[in-house]
Symmetry: C2
């Protein structure tokens, strides 16, 4: 397929190919498990709570509708159980979390009694209910029940339950291993100062942090010269390192494409598409490797840093997020601050800044607090906040301008078929 695809076509094709990736299952420590996708059912190996216990500091009694006074015959605190038999007229002083003694079925909270030497008396206004303030054995979860299901994205609020099931090690879907290399004779390490026509190579850093941000594993193969043999060696080295995805930057523009394509094919990849009608990021090479019984996706991203960043954001991030059930990127709307024009029919993603402070306040929910006002204005066509286009100092927004990307917090969506967006118009954007 060598025609130029629309954004939507490219998106759908990549989406289909991502389904070929089959992450393996690994075991990790519970302390590292947040944001991983659970690959086993976590089963409760005990009743929780494991015994009837008190959820208040107070007195354990055997419920009797007619009694209002009890003798105190002992004390039990959590972890210091002693066997007292609670009968009619007797009680045991009990602390939060402590196991109930035999006979006791009801807790009287300490603030509901008057203590008189070794006796307690229920305060006048208090009516006791059977089972009051008792947490019964197994009421949270019973032994043998699935506490957290396989396929759950583990969050902090799952940890108390998982830990209480005694799971120190947890089976999760392994993060994808994503190989990276940057091609270009002009590229030097960021430690060096560029001479003559050299450029610091920032893409490996950007993509590495982006991949780590998605909880995946970057495998960095470094800077490679525009040289067939060197690129081929790098790709072969990557293929030996058990990667799921391989990403290169550079070498996809007209002048270099032919030999990158040749090398890729020599290494066993099959070309899926090369170009997408988007800006930035039109040259985007997408290939698949199926030869070794495992599918490996190859993305050849443009070399310029903004295009590489946006391409990753548009064409790789969404599918990793979907695969691992991360929060999907939402699209929002806002009022555009200035006119935008374009001449071509490429779907364009304009670096912008959605300014939540600069909004006409929404009176619709005036009974709620101002936090909500902001919230509502954020999503209302009537009271939208302002969205400003970010430009570099020179007033441009060329694909190479990293300062406008650094200043931006969103990408304003400028549809393929449109040529103008007018100041004041409601536009769609996605946060970055």
């Amino acid at each position: 397929m060598n025609s130029i695809l629309t954004y939507e076509e490219a998106f759908d094709i990549i989406k289909e190919h991502f389904k070929l990736l089959k992450p393996s299952i690994i075991e990790i420590d519970i302390l590292e498990s947040v944001n991983y996708l659970l690959a086993e059912d976590i089963v409760s190996d005990i009743d929780m709570p494991p015994f009837d216990n008190s959820q208040m500091d107070g007195y354990a009694v055997k419920f009797n509708n007619e009694l209002r006074e009890w003798e105190i015959i002992g004390e039990i605190s959590a972890g210091n159980y002693q066997e007292y038999n609670v009968n009619i007229n007797t009680s045991v002083s009990i602390m939060t979390g402590a196991k109930l003694p035999p006979g006791a079925d009801t807790i009287i909270p300490i603030e509901d009694v008057i203590i008189e030497s070794t006796r307690i008396k229920l305060k006048d206004n208090i009516t006791l209910k059977k089972g009051n303030d008792v947490r019964f054995k197994g009421e949270d979860i019973k032994k043998g029940i699935v506490a957290v299901h396989s396929g759950t994205l583990i969050k902090t609020n799952n940890i108390p339950l998982i830990a209480s099931c005694g799971k120190n090690k947890i089976k999760v879907f392994a993060p994808l291993r994503i190989g990276l290399f940057a091609t270009g004779d002009e590229l030097i390490d960021i430690n060096l100062v560029p001479q003559n026509d050299q450029i610091r190579s920032s893409n490996l850093h950007t993509l590495s942090v982006f991949i780590k941000e998605l909880n995946m594993i970057p495998v960095n193969f470094g800077i490679v010269k525009d040289d067939k043999t060197q690129i081929q060696d790098t790709i072969n080295k990557a293929l030996e390192r058990d990667i799921d995805i391989l990403i290169s930057t550079g070498g996809v523009s007209v002048g270099k494409y032919d030999y990158l394509k040749d090398v890729i094919e020599d290494c066993g990849f099959e070309l899926v598409f090369w170009k997408v009608k988007v800006k930035p990021g039109k040259p985007l090479l997408f290939c698949i490797h199926k030869k070794t019984g495992k599918s490996i996706l190859f993305f050849g991203l443009p070399g310029n840093p903004v295009s590489a960043y946006v391409s990753f954001n548009l064409f790789i991030k969404p599918f990793i997020s979907e695969m691992y059930k991360y929060k999907q990127q939402k699209r929002f709307i806002a009022k555009l601050e200035q006119d935008l024009t374009k001449k071509d029919n490429r779907k364009t993603f304009v670096r912008g800044f959605a300014d939540f402070n600069n909004s006409t306040l929404n009176t619709q929910h005036s009974t709620l607090n101002t936090q909500h006002s902001t919230l509502n204005t954020q999503h209302s066509t009537l009271n939208a906040h302002i969205c400003t286009v970010r430009k570099a100092a020179g007033g441009t927004q060329s694909s190479g301008d990293m300062s406008s990307l650094s200043d931006a917090n969103c990408l304003i969506i400028f549809d393929a078929e449109k040529n103008k967006l007018t100041a004041g118009e409601i536009v769609e954007y996605r946060m970055i």
Copy 2:
């Protein structure tokens, strides 16, 4: 101060005390810098781009309004600069990113010309503009300019610019070191199977992952018996380890409070408050240590896992987020699915599930896609999604029920002065 505070009072007091924390500055690798707060201005040490260059594959010419044909006198690719002098009538084949030769000021994209042997001819429909497709030296950012300001929360979109400034190591505000210990004679390690009246201690795991999720550093001092000397030893050990915050769980209920308070004060902490009118999490001990020239905050959280989780969420997380400029937790609204009642005047945070799929679709933005429909319903009082209360299998929602916390995705806010929320009513909630 020993009276019971409202949620709002406790919140404000803690907020003030957090201002006493002064994180130090550390240097970290750029690859680890995302989600850190920048503690230095990143200054561009070079012009970016460092030289005039082509942003397309094409031909570099000296602009002349009347010319439509040029001779090709050479070729320059990125990183392979050669000195050709471009005059009237001559051009150099140039690739994306390559440095412009002397004399050249305009790029003709390859698709706009017809190539005839060693000459190029502008296609009939093409009008050339001076400076076309040239990225001029310094147009992105000039040498000596602040590229990213101190106080910026570093995100992936800042990395291309920071890397291009040659910054491998970056000064950021150090994460807070947060000491943790769990008190309770009943507690055992999660590896063990509880006997008699033992309970697996999950709080250290939960708080550790929560602290790491906030990009802070947990320092785990383990499980400590309800024993004055052991607790005192643990706190003193923590104080020697350069912590900013110390958190204990357990020992704050009526029956144990007195001696925990004594130990805390013996270790040089000053009591700020003990109880807050919230549920879960009423007993919350808050102290400050100012003796060593550095303020250390102490939070004594309840021992039960849900209360500990919610207390951290309500009274610690918001201030760390504010201090490090993380995204603030938003409050949302939804339609409540079932009645909720309570008897006391404690502000109650009910474990709930905000179901974004179970919503009446909003027709207001029917021209937009369904992603937006969800979005709008999410924030509209008229078409709110459903919010369900999460209960444990036993039908309860006691502070100890971890299964309802594990199933929840939000905390429904039940105001102190209210005693009933009715099914169908619009309620506020915060995501967890």
